[in-house]
């Protein structure tokens, strides 16, 4: 299992974000993506999540010698991003259950309870997502991203709005990825969070 970023570059219209990024993330590793605001950290993660076609180069995920593509890749990716939102008309547990079903899991009560407990939302599953505080929303997004134990976990500034115990939850999630020999990418500018990784990519505006 490895994620191979080869000569990766992206631009919006005439504005070049980054070019020539070369990186291989080995299995069981956590890679930190840093760079100033607007340098393209989020874009890089979007490309890694296969949500965006890069302007040049490629971001391929290898299970064996062959690249994982299409629906298969979607099923093995978990993603947290500030632009992502969950359904505000549903409760936390219903949101979790919906995404679990899309991943092919059978979300019964025990499953939902343990998933909520893991991100410290025990007892709040019946509250509506709209009524959650921003930190709780972030916790629920982390829980959704971890559904089905994805081999590729992409965290885009996951520490926003999280308290000290929230940071512990993140560290635990990264440890789990390491244990199951997956790959994690963490885009952040927090000095504390930068210490969690094994490797580092610096995205700089061209």
């Amino acid at each position: 299992m490895k994620l191979h970023l080869h000569n990766l570059g992206h631009r919006y219209g005439a504005r070049v974000l980054f070019r020539g990024i070369e990186h291989t993330a080995a299995e069981g590793s956590v890679t930190i993506v840093t760079g100033p605001n607007g340098a393209g950290k989020s874009t890089l993660l979007r490309i890694a999540a296969d949500l965006l076609l890069p302007w040049e180069g490629s971001a391929l995920l290898y299970q064996t010698s062959e690249a994982v593509t299409g629906a298969q890749r979607k099923m093995t990716t978990g993603y947290v991003s500030p632009e992502m939102a969950l359904y505000s008309e549903f409760t936390g547990a219903e949101n979790l259950a919906f995404y679990a079903r899309l991943r092919g899991l059978q979300p019964d009560n025990a499953f939902l309870r343990s998933a909520l407990e893991k991100v410290g939302l025990k007892g709040r599953g019946r509250d509506r997502y709209a009524d959650y505080s921003s930190g709780m929303k972030q916790r629920l997004k982390i829980a959704v991203a971890q559904l089905g134990e994805p081999m590729l976990l992409l965290l885009d500034e996951p520490g926003t709005n999280l308290d000290r115990s929230g940071a512990e939850i993140l560290q635990e999630a990264l440890q789990e990825v390491r244990n199951r020999k997956g790959i994690a990418l963490l885009a952040t500018n927090e000095p504390d969070e930068e210490l969690w990784g094994d490797e580092k990519i610096c995205v700089n505006a061209v």
């Binding site: 949500l51 359904y87 995404y99 899309l102």
Partner: protein, 240 residues
């Protein structure tokens, strides 16, 4: 981990949408209120032609507002009602930012299938309420039932399929609500012409089997062609 079959994902999305609709009632509520008030307006404005008769080219006396005309007006009403509510499933996902997660968790085909199914369900539910009410208020007959039901079902299918793909397109544009009707209704005009042609048949006594197959077939094939093309092209709309 194996990939999920698309129809299971589509069913999950459909269930989610139905459940959200039960809770917020945005689409059905706006469509229902629009359709009922339009229905009332039509019934009131057509009171003046209720008993009027005219002589056609062959000198026969005919009611000015016959069953085929009533059917045409019913479908005009349903089209406009559909275009007030059916943009909601896509526009809501785009505006609230939930589309990003759907893009990651589902394949484009599954999203299209789920949304199409939801729109068809909503439309069918609305028609089940509006059509009997319309028939009561205006005195429209069903004509030949063996034609009436295929026309209604074919009409619902075509209308829903056009509304779904146009809603997906409009949701990506600025001020999507205004665009939705403007780019959808020109496509539907042709469909409405086909529908009126089939409706005439439903009330004509002398319809031949060939003309029935031609007109109802044309009606149904319109919806089938739209669904086929949009399923083929949906990932171009959906993916960034």
């Amino acid at each position: 981990m194996n990939s999920m079959p698309w129809h299971k994902q589509a069913a999950a999305l459909w269930k989610k949408d139905i459940r959200a609709e039960m809770r917020t009632r945005v689409a059905t509520g706006s469509m229902g209120v629009f359709a009922l008030s339009a229905l009332l307006l039509i019934a009131l404005s057509m009171l003046s032609v209720k008993g009027v008769e005219y002589r056609d080219a062959l000198g026969r006396l005919k009611p000015a507002w016959d069953d085929a005309g009533k059917m045409a007006l019913l479908w005009t009403l349903l089209c406009f009602a559909a275009f007030t509510g059916l943009a909601h499933p896509f526009v809501h996902e785009e505006e609230s930012g939930t589309s990003l997660a759907l893009r990651l968790y589902m394949s484009a085909e599954a999203v299209y299938a789920g949304k199409l199914l939801f729109n068809l369900t909503t439309l069918a539910a609305m028609m089940l309420v509006i059509t009997p009410a319309y028939m009561l208020l205006t005195g429209m007959n069903t004509g030949r039932l063996i034609l009436f039901f295929p026309i209604m079902i074919g009409g619902c299918f075509g209308l829903g399929s056009v509304a779904t793909v146009v809603a997906a397109l409009a949701a990506k544009a600025k001020s999507s609500g205004a665009l939705f009707g403007a780019i959808g209704l020109p496509i539907l005009v042709v469909f409405l012409i086909l529908l009126m042609q089939a409706a005439h048949l439903c009330y004509a006594g002398n319809a031949t089997p060939i003309s029935i197959v031609k007109d109802v077939g044309g009606l149904v094939s319109f919806g089938v062609m739209i669904v086929a093309l949009s399923a083929m092209l949906f990932h171009f709309i959906w993916d960034d």
